[in-house]
Amino acid sequence: MRITFLFFLASLIFITSCGSDDDFVCQPGVPGDLTSIPYDPVPHEVAVPFDFPPVPVPPNNELTNDGVNLGRHLFYDPILSVDSSMACAHCHLPGGGFTDTLEVSLGVGGAVGSRSSMTLINAAYYLNGLFWDGRVQSLEDQALLPVEDPVELMHQWSDVEFLLQNHDEYPTMFRKAFGITNKSEISKELTAKALAQFERCIVSAGNSKYDQVISLNGFFSPSEQNGFDMFFDSSSILPDAECGHCHNAPLFTTNEYFNNGLDSVVSLFDFDDPGLGGITMNEFDYGKFRAPTLRNIEFTAPYMHDGRFQTLEEVIDHYNSGGHFADNLDPLINPLGLTEENKADLLAFLLTLSDTTTLQNPAYQNPF
């Protein structure tokens, strides 16, 4: 009797000790076993414009070819939404500068969100908080949220995990991306890691007219040059437009939070959307939002966190007016005194930030 028990115990130990051991061949037939599929991670290189630093990557989620490929599939796959009707890409379309070009986003079943979608271009470099209000710190943490958000994909992670584990292709792709040994290891965390890997690769191609001029491979028209000078306050003849303070090159954002004068309020707690203040609970942070990048701004209308401006002309008029007063209105938001010609020049400069080669990069398109 005792001997049989010992035998049982020994065989248990034997079974549990394999699996993680690479050169030990497990018995075939373990449900969900993936070890027969090779795991050979190949580092994934991302080319960046000359004035960008290398893409920052967290040590626990290095980019690999298979990881990025998996992320790209997940990003375009409606399997992440409750009724299989929409994927991340639905609200972050390459052709829309990785936004949905709506005032505020619409989720599953037409559920109306409260904020405008944000571009994902150069998101790898947005290291001062993500979202308009900075409420998450990493792309990995961000990617966990849309799936269960009731105005986005409205699903349950447990269900999504089940679907991915029992899918025809995803288990193989997760094995190749992360070296998991069993389907059951497919988790929301690994799904988020793969999505983050794909997003980190969405980097400016460096082919905008601005990039060409700055790398001495082209010239601005006189109007664009005037716009550049006003944007960066670099001319003593033209008025300062002050834009560069908050939308600085090369990312065309500083990733800081400001009140750029969209609304007048008596008390700072009165903003319709509290922005950063809703996260920090700091009175002077209410109504502050993260300054977004202006790269490819031509394609991401309408503008601001609530999509209130339909055109760039309206945006420029807003800044030219000096904005609406609130106690934390940024000191750089003042009446600018731009003439019609100045405004046209500033617009001409903003359009030099367009780079369709980024948006059309085959590596970012729908793989299905």
């Binding site: 000359f50 004035d51 960008f52 630093p53 920052p56 470099y125 290291l127 001062n128 000078d229 960066f232 306050d233 670099s234 001319s235 003593s236 300062d240 002050e242 560069g244 303070h245 908050c246 600085n248 090159a249 090369p250 990312l251 500083t254 990733n255 800081e256 009175e283 002077f284 106690d327 934390n328 209105l329 940024d330 000191p331 750089l332 938001i333 003042n334």
Partner: protein
């Protein structure tokens, strides 16, 4: 006999642990653990962002932003007979952001050789060799890297050494003048600022050196800056405010 047998593995163990690292024979230089703390004052009181209204030449002033780069920070020892004091570098550059850190910034865990020092020396701003570089040349989290790109100004080919921003109510009836001073360019980089203070560093002990920066003094020293007349200084040809700020840093910092 049994005891003797036990001794064998013990000796063996000792032998093993004692070999391996023969560089360990050199004595480690003795170090102390040094921290620098920085706090902004407005006159006699600790600076309070946004809410406290200060009297400025009879007008109401609030401060919304204050930060600066500190660089070439070293302790020095006067050496008898030598012209220049002997310096021990602490670090090349760091960025002190008072707005984001509730007006109190600490630089911790500097390992500094023990000894008696006669003071600390530093500059405000970005030294010209570093200032010639761009945010993309540094790692993303370096003080001069892309995460701090709001402190680089491509149009001048320079980092912004400091930002001083706020608002002045000129009449008491909310006639606001917004001001923002952003000094930069090699020409405005501060000379060496020397603060004599005896600092005795003892092996293994912690030592804190406290800096206070008086922002009011930055505005008023050498004659109060006319903020209404010069509310900002973003381009090199309107540098009155920027020069005023940089000129007054040395006399506005005290160390104890």
């Amino acid at each position: 006999m049994k005891q003797f047998l036990l001794l064998i593995p013990v000796c063996f163990l000792l032998l093993m642990t004692s070999c391996g690292d023969d560089t360990a024979i050199l004595p480690e230089p003795e170090v102390a653990d040094v921290s620098l703390t920085f706090k902004t004052m407005f006159g006699d009181n600790e600076l309070d962002f946004n809410t406290t209204v200060y009297d400025y030449e009879g007008m109401e002033m609030t401060i919304s932003k204050f930060d600066f780069f500190i660089s070439n920070v070293a302790l020095y020892k006067n050496v008898e007979g030598a012209l220049d004091p002997e310096q021990t570098e602490l670090f090349e550059i760091d960025f002190l952001d008072f707005t984001q850190n509730n007006n109190s910034v600490t630089i911790e865990s500097l390992n500094v050789p023990v000894g008696e020092y006669d003071g600390i020396v530093f500059s405000i701003g970005v030294p010209s060799d570093l200032n010639a570089q761009q945010p993309g040349d540094f790692s993303v989290t370096h003080p001069l890297g892309i995460t701090n790109v709001g402190h680089h100004w491509a149009a001048w080919d320079s980092y912004i050494f400091s930002k001083v921003e706020g608002r002045l109510d000129t009449s008491g009836n909310q006639d606001y003048v917004n001001f923002s001073y952003h000094p930069g360019t090699d020409a405005l980089f501060s000379n060496k600022i020397e603060k004599g203070i005896s600092i005795n560093l003892v092996a293994g002990q912690q030592k804190t050196i406290n800096f206070e920066i008086d922002l009011e003094n930055i505005f008023v020293s050498g004659g109060a800056l006319d903020i209404e007349m010069y509310p900002d200084s973003h381009s090199p040809d309107e540098s009155t405010g920027a020069e005023h700020v940089m000129d007054n840093f040395p006399s506005s910092i005290s160390v104890n």
